[in-house]
């Protein structure tokens, strides 16, 4: 249950953030790409939350402290480089995690087997853009490096234990680091050497401790649903 909620909230929150790009993407082709990823994630969220209870009840009527998503996914979109860095970090994690789950016999095996194909595409999308922004122009290189640095401290949380999630965390962590390092190097970017957790972010999202922007995101997401208690949509 805790695991389904954690993974479901990750997908729900990141999907919401990507949805905020609609109408703002740097090029029309990318409108379509970002929406595809957001829709995949929303589908995953709905499946996972339904394992726990009513999807809308869970999405719209929980308080901020009851959400179990990583702080990484709730971080505001920032510029396109920040969105891509967030995508690279998270989709690489999801790809490796679902890869492990798909080959196991947990309750998530079936879901993971479907999701792993989706997130492989998300990872590829993030990788392609990381290469282009990192090794594009001076400006894009600087922006991409800033984004990778800024989000780095939220990455350690991905490897904290989650109740009900039976995975080899150390293997996950080293595979993640290897993959991300490889992409960053090819993109002529420097792997941040700062801590990958802060005093506040170490496992905090999974414990229901979030960053300030998340409260506003939820207020916007939940306000209409909460304004009409008991209504059907």
């Amino acid at each position: 249950m805790t695991a389904a909620l954690a993974l479901g909230d990750d997908a729900l929150v990141l999907s919401h953030r990507l949805g905020e790009w609609a109408g703002h993407a740097p090029v029309l082709e990318e409108e379509v790409a970002l929406a595809n990823i957001a829709l995949d994630l929303l589908g995953q969220a709905r499946t996972l939350l339904s394992l726990v209870g009513d999807e809308d009840e869970l999405a719209y009527r929980r308080e901020e402290r009851a959400f179990r998503n990583l702080q990484l996914v709730e971080q505001p979109n920032g510029d396109f480089a920040h969105t891509i860095a967030r995508q690279l970090y998270f989709s690489t994690y999801q790809l490796l995690l679902y890869g492990q789950l798909a080959s196991g016999d947990s309750a998530f095996a079936a879901l993971a087997a479907k999701a792993v194909k989706e997130v492989a595409y998300h990872q590829d999308h993030a990788e392609q853009w990381t290469l282009r922004l990192g090794d594009g122009t001076t400006e894009s290189h600087e922006r991409m490096q800033r984004a990778c640095d800024a989000l780095w401290r939220f990455t350690g949380e991905m490897f904290h234990p989650v109740e009900g999630l039976d995975v080899d965390r150390e293997a996950l962590r080293s595979a993640w680091l290897e993959s991300v390092t490889g992409v960053l190097h090819r993109a002529t970017l420097t792997v941040p050497d700062t801590p990958d957790t802060g005093a506040w972010s170490a496992g905090a999202g999974r414990q229901g401790l979030h960053t300030e922007a998340f409260g506003r995101m939820l207020a916007e997401m939940q306000h209409l649903h909460r304004s009409h208690p008991g209504a059907s949509w």
Partner: protein
């Protein structure tokens, strides 16, 4: 065709299912072939319309000119012997 900023145009061909040819689906802009493929996947197959995609730089396409219509295509119109219906076969003869 493009300044350094503008992404070039690509023609997209989609094979809708195995056993069929790739068919022209439309065009899109992309900075390079890898991205063109991905954009094509996102744009032209989001309703499960394809199993394989080709992307070709629009500038690489050489097309016949409509002004050559007559010399190009008309000479093939008066050769009915290339079609099976040209031949008279007695009724009742099978497997022909």
């Amino acid at each position: 065709m493009s300044s350094s900023k503008d992404w070039p145009l690509w023609e997209v061909f989609v094979r809708s299912r195995r056993g069929l040819s790739h068919t022209h689906a439309g065009s899109l802009h992309a900075p390079d072939a890898e991205m063109a493929l991905r954009h094509a996947r996102d744009l032209y197959t989001r309703r499960n319309e394809g199993v394989s995609i080709w992307v070709v730089p629009s500038t690489a396409v050489t097309a016949s000119s409509p002004d050559e219509k007559d010399p190009f295509f008309e000479p093939s119109a008066d050769k009915p012997y290339r079609h099976p219906t040209f031949y008279d076969i007695p009724e009742g003869v099978k497997h022909l």
